[in-house]
Symmetry: C2
Subunit: 243 residues, 2 copies
């Protein structure tokens, strides 16, 4: 295993994670009250400011409802949380949640072609050059992780060209969830990234400024791996079959 940057966990980080686990893994259901800041500080053996920092960060992501004078209550993350919670939900209690993984694959397949179509409308020739260069770099390496990185860069350019802040922000969150686990996911996604030809067809369609062709080409890039991974997930968790 290659060298890795050391990760330092601050006290508030630690508190944040612990409280988040309680909330996400159901230790404290939605609507229930959290212990008071003072009590939490005492129980966890840290200072109150540290607890406050953690709780405020959770409130920032709409996971808690903090009211001056009243108790701090847990909100229903299913109804209020944003995409940033995704990585935490994907891996719950150390195990990958197949339902979440499925939803990611499905969303990719819906959004990807849409973004590609917009990029085709707005990209222009400069974009085609950029995409082609990225694909060249992708084709030249044999390292699975590096190929993932290049594929990510490819989509990054597509999203840029789509000139859509909403898709940009969605992509940011998904990338933030994907990148830390990139090494583990590379083997799974290899099938997709190996199809450089499909990417080139997509690039051509985008470069030609043809949204509908680009949409279809993006689908053809994304669908194979999506299909086989969905099948693998279904085998993993038969309950997903009939849902």
């Amino acid at each position: 295993m290659p060298l890795q940057p050391v990760t330092r966990r601050s006290v508030p980080d630690e508190v944040f994670d612990q409280v988040l686990s309680e909330v996400v893994d159901g230790g404290i259901g939605a609507g229930e009250a959290l212990p008071s800041e003072r009590r939490l500080a005492e129980v966890l053996g840290v200072s109150r400011p540290a607890v406050r920092e953690a709780l405020q960060r959770m409130a920032q992501t709409r996971l808690l409802d903090v009211r001056h004078g009243g108790a701090t209550t847990v909100r229903d993350f299913r109804r209020y949380a944003g995409l940033d919670l995704l990585p935490r939900l994907l891996v719950r209690r150390g195990e990958l949640d197949p339902a979440i993984a499925r939803s990611i694959l499905e969303a990719r397949l819906v959004v990807g072609p849409g973004v590609a179509a917009l990029a085709a409308e707005r990209g222009g020739p400069a974009l085609e050059v950029l995409l082609t260069e990225t694909l060249d770099a992708l084709g030249e390496t044999d390292d699975g992780v590096q190929r993932q990185v290049h594929a990510l860069a490819f989509w990054d350019h597509v999203v840029d060209a789509a000139d859509s802040m909403v898709f940009r922000l969605m992509f940011n969150s998904l990338r933030a969830a994907y990148e830390p686990a990139l090494e583990a996911l590379a083997p799974l996604m290899a099938e997709e990234v190996d199809q450089v030809g499909a990417y080139r067809v997509l690039t051509a369609a985008i470069g030609a400024g043809d949204p509908e062709t680009a949409r279809a080409a993006a689908d053809r890039v994304l669908r194979p791996a999506t299909t086989s991974l969905l099948a693998a997930l279904a085998a993993l968790d038969p309950a997903l079959e009939d849902r």
Copy 2:
């Protein structure tokens, strides 16, 4: 003007907003360093913990890079921020940003039909009843804002039925951005919400478990208002035309 809940702004809230403005409105470009916590506290006339809380919340949303011992630097929100930043970008310096508004409309048109298709696959008869009830309620009121609320509830049920955490979380963020401005947006979206018939067609397709029909029906629900609003935006800001 109807009564409104009083809004209490805490000190860290205030600091958060001010620093956020600096970051988003370009006062401090990406990569630049923020003044030190002590300095900020001094300049703003508040305590250091208050500043810390605000900065940590910003770091939580990937807008800042805080390093122990080093300076706190601003990150490029275009590349790292999540969907939660959307409301803040939509209204910059008190004015609505047409490019952001456009991206929201476009994204809706891409994602909505996709979600509808998934809901059709997985909904079942119970969902059709739920959707029908929601539409009945929508049809019975003349209040524009209430109609928006019901339309939102309609999509909420659709997203639920799609059984997709990713779409759920996306929807949460978009709803969080939409709801506070609901009153202002109601007139703009009236055209869409008035087409109860189109919603009923969509409901039928979902109830019938027919994904492709549902996809098309959702498109027909969303497209008219999308098209006319996009035209209005283009008139507002001609630069959008040729992008």
